[in-house]
Amino acid sequence: MFRAALRLSVSGARSLTRSRPQYTASVAARSYSHGKQETDEEFDARWVTYFNKPDIDAWELRKGMNTLIGYDLVPEPKILEAALRACRRLNDLASAIRILEAVKDKSGPHKEIYPYVLQELQPTLNELGIPTPEELGINKA
């Protein structure tokens, strides 16, 4: 949902094609790039699977998070939940808090995204005992 909102604000060919009519070919034939275009759901599923790897190591967690934050989107709560659980498996509370900070920063001027994400993640945060940056008082310099 947030990805669509952000993508529409980015002047890229990808966002323009969202309003174009769907082709009925089995391989989605867009006229702006070659190959099949990954849907939002496929993107989310791929990242959830990445973080859900049971024996994920610390490097993979870092690499995954840094790459994900590098994209022009705010990750869906389900991806973040998988990432937080990966932090738990790696016994890394600090990184879990850092991930929440990064999400807030990624939202940029869209102030409604971060509270929504926290709301969606609340059960996971409570279960794992992850404090929000606000609870620790580190949201203000």
Binding site: L61, R62, M65, N66, I69, G70, R88, N91, D92, L93, A94, S95, I97, R98, I99, E101, A102, K104, D105, L128, G129, I130, P131, P133, E135, L136, G137, I138, N139, K140, A141
Partner: protein
């Protein structure tokens, strides 16, 4: 190709303000001997505070005190049993600045603006000194007295009498039209 000596200072200069802070040199000895400062070892993973890199290559503190080590052990258990201070301590072991601290305004603009005004002011002083010590003497043809005589001569000569200079002078009344 000139080899790029990537000193910490040089890197800090190249990086822009947004999203980036200076690479921390914690854990790397900056001891100086014989007047030569040691350069950051770029062959090992470095820590950095960057908005676009939430999880740096290594923790901020890599030499842990006994208290830190026992806290790290406690981290392996349920996090609900950690107090707020412990959670904060774990964060600070791993990271240097929080996102809020990274994004804090620096007030650098005041230094920049102040520097600009200072140097403009200094330049003004240089120009002023120049006016009194460098410029040659004032030409006498620019004195009011000389200019008046010049205007009178131009009118007597009927310079541009149709549409220009002398056309604007009323010869009967002896004044400008």
């Amino acid at each position: 190709m000139e080899m790029l000596h990537l000193t910490a200072g040089r890197v800090a200069g190249l990086l822009s303000r947004r999203g980036v802070a200076v690479f921390s040199t914690s854990g790397v000895k900056m001891a100086s001997h014989g007047g030569v400062t040691e350069q950051t070892d770029m062959s090992v993973p470095l820590y950095c505070d960057r908005l676009d890199t939430p999880l740096p290559d290594r923790p901020y503190k890599d030499t842990l005190s006994a208290a830190d080590k026992s806290l790290k052990q406690k981290e392996k258990g349920p996090w609900n049993s950690l107090s707020k201070e412990e959670k904060l301590a774990l964060y600070r072991i791993m990271f240097n600045e929080t996102y809020a601290e990274m994004k804090k305004p620096t007030g650098e603009w005041k230094t920049v603006l102040g520097g600009i005004f200072f140097f403009i002011g200094f330049t003004g002083l240089v120009v002023l000194w120049q006016r009194y010590y460098v410029y040659p003497p004032h030409p006498r043809t620019l004195d009011d007295e000389w200019q008046a005589m010049q205007v009178k001569r131009m009118l007597d000569m009927r310079v541009n009498p149709v549409e220009g200079f002398s056309a604007k002078w009323d010869y009967e009344k002896g004044q400008w039209k």
